[in-house]
Structures are given as C-alpha cells and as structure tokens.
Symmetry: C2
Subunit: 444 residues, 2 copies
C-alpha cells in the first residue's frame, strides 16, 4: 500500500489515493499513515473526508497526532474537537504538550470547556480518566416504545447504545436496560418493568485495574461510572478496557524486569527517558550484588586453596535464579489474575517445596554425573556442587513462591518480587551454602 | 457471605440461602461457591433456580464443574447442556476428562452432536475453538422492520444481537448490520442499504492471538468466523477475547521465565505437572551455564594469583543479566503489542547502544568509586571491574534488544529470548571480558 500511494503521490493523483483510503477501515488507514514522513502524513490526512479523518485521527499515535495538530488550522482543530468522541478528546489532551492543549481547548465549545477541565483532573489510570459522556440515559416511567424513539433521535452520537442507563431526577443510577431487552420486549411495557436493578458500577476514583477486573468477571461491554453520591457521570466501554489490560500487563512485565513502568511507546521515548527508567533499579541491584561479593571474599582462603570451586559459581547462581524466577512468575501472575490469594500461602508453600525436591533431585543428579564423569573432578567436589544445587533450588522456589504473596499482603506490588530481586537474594544464599558445604566436605 | 451461608446451612434455612443468592450476579455466586467444600457446593448449586444455575455453572472453575457433573443426574446434565451457550459447552467438553465428556455428549441432542464433535476438532487456541453458533443472520433483501421482528422472535437465545450477519443463499458472508443501525434507520429501508460491507472476519484456523489483535485494532464487540469458502460458521464475542488476552499474556510471562506454558491453573496442577513444566528449561540452562564455568577454569591461573577477582563475579553477572533482561523485555513486549517490528531493528540498535552508554557510564563510575574508596582495592582492580561493567552493559543491552527481533524474523517466539537465555549468554561474555581485561591491566 505504501508503494502504491507513493506512486500516486508522484503522479499527483490525489483522487485515486482518496478513493483507495476510503475503502479501508480507519484503523488500517491510521496504520498506513504511520509509515510516512510528517509532510506526506499531513497531505494524505487532509485528503480524507471529515468523518473518516476524525476516526483515523483517534487511531494515530500521539506523535503523529501532535504533528497533525501543530500544522492544522484553527478551523480544522474545531472540526476535530467537535467530532471526536469525548473520551478520545480527553486522551488527546492528556498526551499533548501544554501549548497544543491550549490551542485545542480554545476550540472547544464554551459550555464543554469546564467539563473537559473537570475530566482532565481525574487521576491518571482512574475510572474517571477512562470514561466518556456519550451514553444514553432513560427515565424509568418511559414506555419501551418511547425509549426506542428517544434512541432513534439521540443514538447516533453515542459511543454505545447497547446498554442504556436509567436515572432518577437527581441523576442517581437506578438500573440498566440493554438494547437487546428493549428490542425483544413488548413496546407497551415500562422501562421499570424490564430494567435490571443489580447494576455493576465503579466509582470515578477506582483504579483502572479494578475496572478491568470487573469487566472480565461480569462479561460486560460497558460499565457505568458514578460519583460519591451515586450519580451517573459517565460510562466506560470495553474497547478501552482491552487497552487497559494491555497497559497493566506491560506494567507488570516492566516491573518484573526491574524497569520503572511508563505509558510511553519505546520507539517514541527519548534515550534519556529510557535510561532513567532503567538505571535506578540497576544501581540498587548492583549495590545489592556487592554483598554477594563479600560472601565470596569471606571465603577467600577456601577459594584460594581450591580455585576450581570458582568454576561452579555461575552455574549455581544462574540455576538458583532461574528456579526462583519460575516460582515467583507463576505466583505473581496468579495474584494478578486472582487465581492465587494470600490465604493460599500454605498450599503454595507445600507445592513449591515438593516441586523443588523433584526438580532439585533431577538437576543435582545430572550435575553430579556430569562433574564426576565428564569433568572428572572427583566425588567430593561433585558432591559439594550437587548438594548446593539441590539446597539452592529448594530455597529459591520457596522464596520465589512466598515473597510475592507477602508483598501482596502488605499492599506492595507483587511484581517487584520478580526475577531480578529474587536472583540477588538467592545468589547470596547459594554461595553461603556452597562455601559452607565445601569447607565441611573438603575440610578447608 | 461464606459465614452467613454456613450459619443458614446449619439452621437448614435453605429458603433464605436461595433468596440471598438469587439477589446476586451469577459471577459472584460462582466465586462464593468456589470457597466451599464439594458437598456443600453441590447442595448450594442445587438450590439455584435453573437459569441462574446454568449461568453460575459457566463461571465455575473446571475442577468444580467436574465435581458437579460427576454427581449430577442425567436429567440435570440434560438441562445444563441444553441451556449453556454453545461456546461454554465446547469449553466444558475441552476441559473435562473422557468419561465425563461421554456422559455429557450422551445428553446432547442428536442433531447437535455432530456439530459438537466438529467444533471439538478445531485446534486448541484457534478461532474455531473460541466461536459460538448463537448469532443472528439476516438476508440482505429484508426490510429494517422485518429484521427487527425477526430479532424479536429469535434474539433471546443469541449470545449477541448487537451485530447481525448478512449472508447469501450459500451462507457466504456479505456484510454486517449493527443493532444500532437497525434501531436508528428508517424501518422501510432494506438491509442492503444500511449494511456495512467492509467486514473484518477471521478464519476458523486463525490463531487466537491474531483474533485478539484484530479485536483490539478495530474496537469490535463481536467478530464473524468464516471457513475456507468464506461461509459464516460462527462468531466470537469480546468477553471471550478478554480471557484470550490474559491467556496469551500468561503464556508470555511463563515463557519469559523459562516455564513451558500451560492452560491449567497453578493451584489445580499436580506437583509432577508443575515440575515437568519447569525442569526442561532449568536443565538446558544449567548445562549452558557450565560453559561459563569453563571460561573461569581457563583463567584459573589468573584467578589463583588474584583471588579477589572472584569477589566481583556475582556483581558482573547479575548486572549484565539485569541490563540485558530490561532490553529484551521491552522489545519482546513491543513485538507482542505490535509497536516494535523487525524493520525497526536499526532504530532499536541505535537506541539500546546510546542508552547502554549512559547507563554503563553511571554504573561504572559508581562502582569505581565504591571499589576504590570503600573496598580500598586500588586503582587497577577498580578499573578492571568498572571497565568490564561498562562493556557488559553495552553488550547486554544490544543482545537483549536484537535477539527478540531476530527470533521474530525467523518465526520463533520472541518471548524465549528473555531473561534466562540472555543472562546465560551475557554471563559468558562478561567473564571473558573480565578476565581478559584483568590479564592485560594486572599483567597476569
């Protein structure tokens, strides 16, 4: 597609480009646009017809959005702002630098501006920051027929009409009616007859992770957001929740690799931004690892008399770290998905202990045979290394299994109890066991 | 809630229990049920009224589902099987052991049985295995009014009616109509006038990861599944996709921690099952790590003359491993989310190189000062360790950034190029640099 468009651009055949793009889904057009340089992006974007342009815009990356707005006229910005769904506009305002936000806000209608400002004040990652105001509300004394007429008049501009929200005079949420129920019910019934009063809702300040959890648990496609007085202030739709799930998972992946989480795209983040995300944990872990060094130093005489012992340090450290990371990853993931809870602690402990004995035995046996027969280092060294390996695997799996649970208990994020930290702890313990066993068995 | 129910059970006040549970959402009832022992689970489950029982059942864990079916009568199974949504039944059959599958299939209606068998043959994790047959299809010459009447008659039993599928006489998919469009359109219009012909669909054999990607890209709530001849065979709804996203993420978390992925819940997996998932990679990595040991062995004389060198092995290995894991995690995640592609290779390389120089300089400087001033080990050793650290961080970040991209290029899963493997590779390189620099600078 890119080549085709470049060809058409050279021939200045804009009509054909426009025709090609109009036949595509907006998400695909946005993907194609991202492949071009800024100048061509702008040229193509201006070729799109208004409705499509707005939809394409909402799918673009913040960097491209910024480029387009920077060179857009005030009139163009006005159209964009009027046609964007409310939550997409809020997202945009949250991503843009201050001078662009100012230009956009100048083009928001007077009566919407205070609402926009209000929305921008919800904490990042809160339900309030995710919601949109384009929902359908109904009164409970309406008939099904009147409700459908109301929908026909107002539904076009709503982000979803599949769930309608029933509110009282104070805008307090009383129930929900699905469009499915409206369509299949007798048209003379009242909304109050068919509405569902067990409404699952969230508060504006609830964390997005909690919102996503409820969407998954109750299989919803939209969820109402209420304020402290239980008044309906917006709704969240499932498409935004899929992004939240991805973001939350990315956050966990990052934390588990000792990276400070960031909402920004890797390729769009500056080198200093990336370095900042990574250096703090690297420093902390580097300093922690020097303590493992001191353990070696304290056994320096033992090591000096049998230098061969040093040869097994990497293997013991790596295997211990890997064994611990496996356990911590499974438990961190279980906590995140709600399948493992703090009350399962004893079960986890028992399970990890038994698993570690099986795994430890196999690894130790393989290692013993390898050191004894292939390396030919004699029964004593083979025994010291294999025994250390066995003990290390057990300790690693228990620490890896329990630390995330303890973290969750004291309301720390379990994801920090992952590979890097577990490895550092297990390394130190492995080396203490190693040199203690060596001193005993080899009589150093 | 659990205590309350136990109290009521003791008083044999079943009416009250039933009343309490009926006021709850089925997902919540399922969650409460999971907390009880099997006997009480069965007792409570039988108290539920039919519709709720079926919904609760679809939310239960496979273990509890198995317990319930094992002790259910054939009549009860028949009701369950008739009322469950088709995709929930397929899920159930995929999870249950053979003797239970046999009992369930015996209670499936004759005409549905071949369809069930057909569905069970779709590969696990394919679009076919996710889909349901409860969708609404329309013909394009219908009027909007007739379509709505058709929906009123047939919509109750459909999993979603918010997107209706327009098919021709050969069941080939021609377009989609959203219920929103049906409701807001003039009732005399034809379906062909309002249908959307740019249909996003998937093939029965497409991988669920690809399906989830499309759901996210196009913000869908349902997607049609077609066979090779483009005939409509089912639909996938967004609630199932949220589970897919979680499963795919879990798979990546597991692979990145050197665990063979499994669909089974940790607490429900046997100790041998867990050990099997973990031991293969631990063995491979343990054997690989012995090569790092041989590197140390080949520098044994250098090490014997300055035993203090051993003290810094853990720190160099850990920091190198952590630096590499950070990069590989970011790139693996970027590839999974589609924000980093193979064609970005040079950008990634440039970025990781620059970041690694900044990070490496800071870490090396801190380490030099620490070794020189706090450990008092002299300028030469401080220099050897810090220089090694600097080089290791650069190499680690480049390897961590590039290997996942190369894996994606040759169609390997990038997630295996994660912490454990990167650490093993970086360890070896770090030690070669370390002892080479030591030999040069200390003249060993």
């Amino acid at each position: 597609m890119k080549k085709e468009i470049l060809n058409l651009l050279e021939q200045k055949n804009y009509v054909e480009i426009k025709k090609n793009l109009e036949s595509l889904n907006s998400a695909d057009v946005a993907e194609i646009l991202e492949e071009f340089d800024t100048n061509i992006q702008l040229l193509i974007f201006r070729l799109l017809q208004k409705d499509q342009a707005v939809e394409v815009f909402s799918h673009l990356s913040p960097v491209t959005q910024e480029n387009i707005i920077t060179s857009a006229t005030d009139k163009e910005i006005k159209i964009l702002v009027e046609e964007l769904f409310f939550d997409d506009m809020i997202d945009l305002l949250e991503e843009m630098p201050a001078h662009i936000v100012k230009r956009i806000l100048a083009n928001v209608k007077e009566n919407e501006r205070s609402l926009v400002n209000h929305f921008l004040n919800y904490p990042i990652n809160s339900a309030g920051s995710l919601m949109t105001i384009e929902y359908v509300d109904l009164k409970k004394n309406l008939s099904v027929k009147d409700a459908l007429v109301h929908l026909q008049k107002t539904g076009v501009d709503k982000e979803t009409i599949y769930t309608c929200y029933v509110i009282d005079a104070q805008r307090k949420l009383e129930g929900t009616v699905s469009l499915k129920d409206l369509v299949i019910s007798d048209e003379n019934k009242k909304i109050s007859d068919i509405m569902n009063v067990e409404v699952i809702s969230v508060n504006t300040l609830d964390d997005q992770e909690e919102v996503a959890r409820k969407f998954k648990k109750y299989d919803l496609i939209a969820m109402p957001v209420v304020d402290k007085e239980k008044r309906l202030v917006g709704i969240i739709t499932v498409d935004d929740i899929m992004d939240v799930i991805d973001d939350e998972n990315t956050e966990d992946f990052y934390k588990m690799a000792a990276i400070s989480p960031s909402d920004e795209n890797y390729l769009d983040t500056s080198v200093f931004g990336i370095a900042k995300q990574r250096i703090i944990w690297l420093l902390i872990l580097m300093i922690s690892a020097t303590f493992t060094g001191y353990i070696i130093k304290s056994f320096e005489t033992a090591l000096a008399s049998v230098v061969t012992l040093a040869m097994f340090i990497p293997q013991l450290m790596d295997t211990g770290g890997n064994a611990g990371s496996q356990s911590s990853t499974v438990i961190i993931r279980g906590i995140a998905l709600g399948t493992v809870k703090f009350r399962d602690g004893w079960k986890v402990l028992a399970k990890e202990f038994t698993v570690s004995i099986i795994v430890g035995l196999v690894l130790a046996a393989v290692n013993f045979l390898k050191i004894f027969f292939i390396d030919g280092l004699g029964v004593q060294i083979s025994l010291v290394v294999s025994l250390t390996l066995f003990c290390t695997v057990i300790i690693a799996k228990i620490i890896g299994g329990i630390l995330p649970l303890l973290a969750s208990k004291v309301r720390l994020d379990p994801a920090i109890m992952a590979s890097p930290l577990i490895t550092t702890i297990v390394d130190a313990l492995a080396l203490i066991i190693y040199f203690s066993l060596a001193s005993m068995i080899l009589g150093l």
